[in-house]
């Protein structure tokens, strides 16, 4: 029997949280009201990597606050995620972080594929990270939580059309925000979106992979969902094994943004293809 849950990933809503821990942190509690009453589907942790810089979507400044910990530098520390449901029962008890990791380089979006389906409401007041950190170190990473507020709507994965916008990224600026409505004609704005594909026209230096993954985030407000700061590197076509689907979201492009947080040694373009 093949595992059905491996075949597709449907996102209705996605919340993003900045997690900061340092060597004084024994436990970091996670009491976020936004998840109250929501049915949690999946949880991931997102890191930068040694070879690929991606900044913090919550920071508007090109300083230390724009730094997401590189996964490689986390090896002298560890953190365990503990999540309990509304009945006080453990969903995750000391889940070691590496099983939940996404990073900005991974070729197959591995954690998306194998992620554990929770499908329950959680008690955010009793959800916490327990940490063992080397002295003097501090880390910042992102925690993503996908959740549903209603029955999933999408039933047909077949794509009937698409439109694409290209956004020029300026040189020498690690923090750039772009309002999507500035790049998308009004006539395209009423479609219910099933998939989003992102790419960058920056070529890889080693030419092993033709193009390297984009280093930005999408913040998508929709009439029927909210996708907060999803890394565009998760929406590339390089992951051959799975596609991420959105739940027929009707996007409010006036209030949706591309947040560029990468290195920009040269002017490049990032393109976003919306499929409906």
């Amino acid at each position: 029997m093949l595992q059905k849950s491996y075949r597709k990933m449907i996102l209705q809503n996605l919340a993003c949280f900045e997690i900061k821990i340092d060597s004084s942190s024994g436990r970091v509690y996670f009491n976020e009201d936004i998840l109250h009453g929501k049915t949690i589907q999946h949880i991931w942790l997102f890191f930068s990597t040694q070879d690929k810089f991606i900044g913090n979507p919550f920071s508007g400044a090109d300083d230390d606050s724009n730094f997401i910990t590189q996964l490689d530098s986390f090896s002298d520390s560890t953190t365990f995620l503990n999540v309990v449901d509304k009945n006080g029962e453990y969903i995750f008890k000391n889940m070691e972080y590496s099983s939940l990791v996404l990073d900005c380089e991974n070729q197959d979006n591995l954690a998306v594929i194998r992620s554990i389906l929770i499908n329950r409401q959680i008690d955010t007041n009793n959800t916490f990270f327990s940490c063992f950190l080397a002295p003097g170190y501090s880390y910042r990473f992102l925690m993503y939580v996908s959740y549903t507020t209603k029955k999933v709507e999408i039933s047909d994965p077949v794509i009937t059309g698409s439109f694409t916008c290209e956004i020029p990224i300026l040189q020498d600026n690690r923090v750039q925000n772009f309002r999507l409505s500035d790049y998308i004609p009004k006539s395209y704005r009423n479609h219910k979106i099933k998939q989003i594909m992102c790419s960058s026209n920056r070529e890889a230096e080693d030419n092993f992979f033709k193009f390297i993954k984009p280093t930005s985030y999408l913040e998508i407000k929709a009439e029927n969902g909210y996708i907060e700061h999803i890394p565009t590197c998760l929406l590339t076509e390089q992951g051959k094994t799975i596609n991420v689907y959105f739940d027929n979201i009707k996007i409010d492009f006036e209030n949706s943004f591309l947040l560029y947080r990468g290195d920009s040694f040269e002017p490049i373009k990032e393109s976003i293809t919306f499929l409906y």
């Binding site: 029997m1 595992q3 491996y6 365990f80 000391n94 197959d108 194998r114």
Partner: protein, 259 residues
Amino acid sequence: MNNPIGTQTVSGAIALEVVIYPNQNRVYFPDNAVLRDKVIKHVDLCDEIVQSFSGMNITFPFSKMTFFEKKTQNRVLDAIPSEIFSTYNRNGNRLNLNHVFDLPMSYIDISNNQLTEPKCMLFVFWYVEKSVSSPINDKAAISVQNFELKLNQKRTYFSENNTLRDAKFRNIITSLPYKTAEGNEVINETTFVKAFLTLRRGNLQFFQNVPLYLFKQDRLAYWLSFENIKFDFTNSYIEVINPQASDFKSVFFNCIIEK
């Protein structure tokens, strides 16, 4: 050849050494009583460790493998390159099989055997063992728990675990964190690649000498998937080859269980 996508549920696994002697060009698989009538779901060629559970050195010659189906005597896999079973190459994306193999008829062809001493190829056969498993309920809630084992000798048995006694395991995941959840120091990579896991239920060893590294799944495209297996903690153990004092640290596991 297309890569099949996904992973199948399994409930048994056994590591099998195939000894290769110098100048041997065709090597038959040994007859193995456990595997005689078992439905094989996946085969792993363990090429990320240097020593087998017996202490014998491992080799990875360029080779092709032929497997015969027991009942029909058909060549289910005919001269298939061994790297297709390599755990290093496959990243957890295992070939999906569903056959009872005639192992003594099946063989490995090595065109250029350059060995100067006997070495072995180490395979893990993942199979169906119904006596320790139960059907997966897709609607059942799952939970992630943890347990750990402090190694203290060549063979260290698990302690009884009241939380997980009779639990139905969907996966067992090991990792190498900085410290375990209880704050104990974790084994290093050197120990990790010479440790082997055996799980028992009553008198039945249904995971036998499976290399521990196969349970580290953080960079795998597909996780292992067990069919709600149950095991006795106090009967099950980890064995370390040629243990040194520096090996005696803790092994940390997360597990996914059906509630």
